[in-house]
């Protein structure tokens, strides 16, 4: 800061502390709710310190699920994990290959191909849900992991990110590798791939979160409850507006649904920030 003002410093701490408090409070409540039984929550006087039902709640939720969504949340988490990993890995794979082709080769319709991919950047799956649903249904992919994953891989974010990164790699590297007699495959494997590791990791973090948090698409194409992901599973638990909603199970599920992506952000914060900032360029 330009001048030293203890009061301004104090206000900065105070504002940030308040901000963190507001941001954390809803999650704190959910964690607390996951340690009580339904009756304690339903009467509206839930204490703000942990209760003693945590083990029971997590055990029941993970292995058996609730009264309404009779599906173990452990299985839902498994589905979410497959979908998130599938989307992240699938996107990285197809986009690093297409970016390699667009940057390092000259071939007919190269610019056209780039634009065809680039335009998809603008249209999220929400604006074409029913036709996409119909195609996936016609291909017999309802209630399959392929159906959950494939349509969400079709986007340009990854290709643009890799393309931008490849552009910063000096041409001399390709020239040197050519002189050494390396072909397209060797150059990719020995030079490009090792250099791209950070970019790959950053894209992975962002896409994992994106995949895990998908809502509308899994909601449409999963009809079997065994294929549900955790994010849509929680909705089944609270739609019943009667007093029978098992809030302890719903909140335990909410905590479990937040855990993997939040851990990824906290543990890989540097990669996360890099991925977030660069995919938006």
């Amino acid at each position: 800061m330009v001048e030293n003002r203890p009061f301004a410093q104090f206000m900065a701490y105070l504002t940030l502390a308040l901000g963190i408090l507001v941001v954390a409070f809803p999650v704190y409540l959910a964690v607390m709710a996951s340690t009580f039984d339904t009756a304690t929550i339903i009467n509206g006087n839930m204490p703000l310190v942990p209760g003693d039902q945590a083990a029971e709640n997590y055990n029941r939720t993970l292995l058996y699920g609730g009264m309404h969504a009779r599906q173990p949340v452990g299985g839902m988490m498994f589905n979410s994990m497959i979908m998130a990993l599938g989307i992240a890995i699938g996107k990285i794979l197809i986009s690093i290959l297409s970016a390699y082709a667009v940057v390092y080769f000259k071939f007919p319709f190269r610019k056209t191909a780039f634009w065809i991919i680039f335009i998809t950047l603008m249209l999220p799956v929400e604006v074409r849900i029913y036709p996409t649903y119909k195609i996936v249904a016609d291909l017999g992919l309802l209630d399959t992991y392929t159906g959950l994953i494939m349509p969400l891989i079709a986007s340009a974010t990854g290709t643009l990110l890799f393309r931008q990164f490849f552009m910063t790699i000096p041409d001399e590297l390709l020239e040197a590798s050519k002189i050494d007699g390396a072909g397209a495959f060797r150059f990719f494997k020995d030079t490009l791939l090792p250099l791209s590791m950070t970019t790959i990791a950053a894209l992975f973090v962002i896409q994992f979160i994106y995949g895990w948090n998908q809502y509308l698409w899994p909601l449409l194409i999963t009809t079997k409850s065994s294929m549900q992901t955790i994010v849509i599973g929680i909705k089944m638990m609270i739609t019943t507006t009667d007093a029978l909603t098992e809030w302890n199970v719903a909140m335990t599920t909410a905590v479990l649904a937040m855990l993997p992506p939040v851990l990824v952000v906290i543990l890989m914060q540097r990669l996360f920030v890099k991925g977030l900032v660069e995919t938006e360029k």
Binding site: A8, A12, L123, P131, L216, I234
Partner: protein, 293 residues
């Protein structure tokens, strides 16, 4: 920008680009063109036959009072969420940018809500403000307000805005912080030497220099409210009470569900596509993007 050195041959690059092309065409261009085509068709009650009806679906849409209401709802919802999440994020970022100890820890503690799914964020806030059991509904009811987001449209909208804002602050915070840190300290020092106090410096120097970031975030936030908040709305209000929190995207979903009005739903999709393309075009036009071809 082009590479000087290239690898020769063109069968290999075509093979490399094939997977992405195939997926893009099958799951993107094909359904998008189907949406456009369907928006000109009307299916009979049994979904067996359809006839070409031109712009009738669009005309019918613009005769629906519900469509205008969804537009107004979307406009109110987006502007409230964009305003509050930008304002809160800027306040927090400008404090975190000050030379204080533990800046990194503050950053970590503020960014993680980005990772929470919109639907889950909605459920968290619904639980907190649930009319009968919510921890924070009691103090509200104590002030004499009959708080009930299940029945009162304004309360429902308030809850949606709160949860959507909560989730978006972390994203805006990160970009504002990066923007603030990119402003050269010498500019701020010069203003200070000229006698400008912290507030004056903020509004006359820092805020104008941040405007590219702010504008970029504004567009991103609007797109966020349009699409990503679907999960929040579906989990918290389901578009109700009485359709009063139904946004444009939610209406596309609700109208087409269970093979309902597919033509009308498709026409709405097409209008949404046009809105998004316009927003993106505005962003390209006015924000200096670093993408080059």
């Amino acid at each position: 920008m082009e590479k000087r050195a290239h690898i020769s041959g063109w069968t290999l690059p075509l093979l490399l680009i094939l997977p992405q092309m195939a997926i893009t065409v099958i799951f993107f261009y094909w359904p998008a063109s189907q949406a456009i085509w369907q928006s000109f068709l009307r299916e009979d009650a049994f979904g067996l036959a359809s006839e070409f009806v031109g712009f009738e679906n669009y005309a019918a849409l613009f005769e629906q009072p519900e469509y205008y209401r969804a537009m107004i709802t979307t406009a109110i919802f987006s502007s409230l969420v964009a305003f509050f999440s930008l304002a809160c994020a800027l306040l927090l970022a400008s404090q975190a940018d000050k030379n204080i100890r533990g800046g990194h820890a503050f950053k970590t503690l503020l960014v993680w809500p980005y990772a929470v799914a919109p639907a889950i964020a909605g459920v968290l806030w619904l639980f907190m403000f649930h009319p009968t059991l919510g921890t924070l509904s009691k103090p509200i009811k104590a002030t004499g307000i009959d708080w009930n987001p299940m029945l009162n449209a304004n309360h429902a909208m308030t809850l949606l805005v709160l949860s959507a804002t909560w989730k978006q602050i972390s994203y805006n915070f990160l970009f504002f912080l990066a923007g603030l840190q990119a402003i050269p300290k010498s500019v701020i020092e010069a203003a200070a030497i000229d006698g400008a106090g912290p507030l004056r410096r903020f509004w006359t120097v820092i805020f104008p220099l941040l405007s590219p970031t702010t504008f970029f975030l504004l567009v991103v936030n609007i797109v966020y409210v349009f699409f990503d908040t679907f999960g929040i709305i579906d989990a918290v209000t389901g578009g109700g009470p009485a359709g009063q929190t139904t946004t444009l995207v939610y209406k596309v979903y609700a109208d087409g569900r269970l093979g309902g009005d597919l033509g009308g739903s498709a026409a709405q999709s097409v209008i949404l596509m046009i809105i998004v393309i316009a927003l993106t075009a505005i962003q390209f036009r006015y924000v200096e993007r670093k993408v080059q071809y």
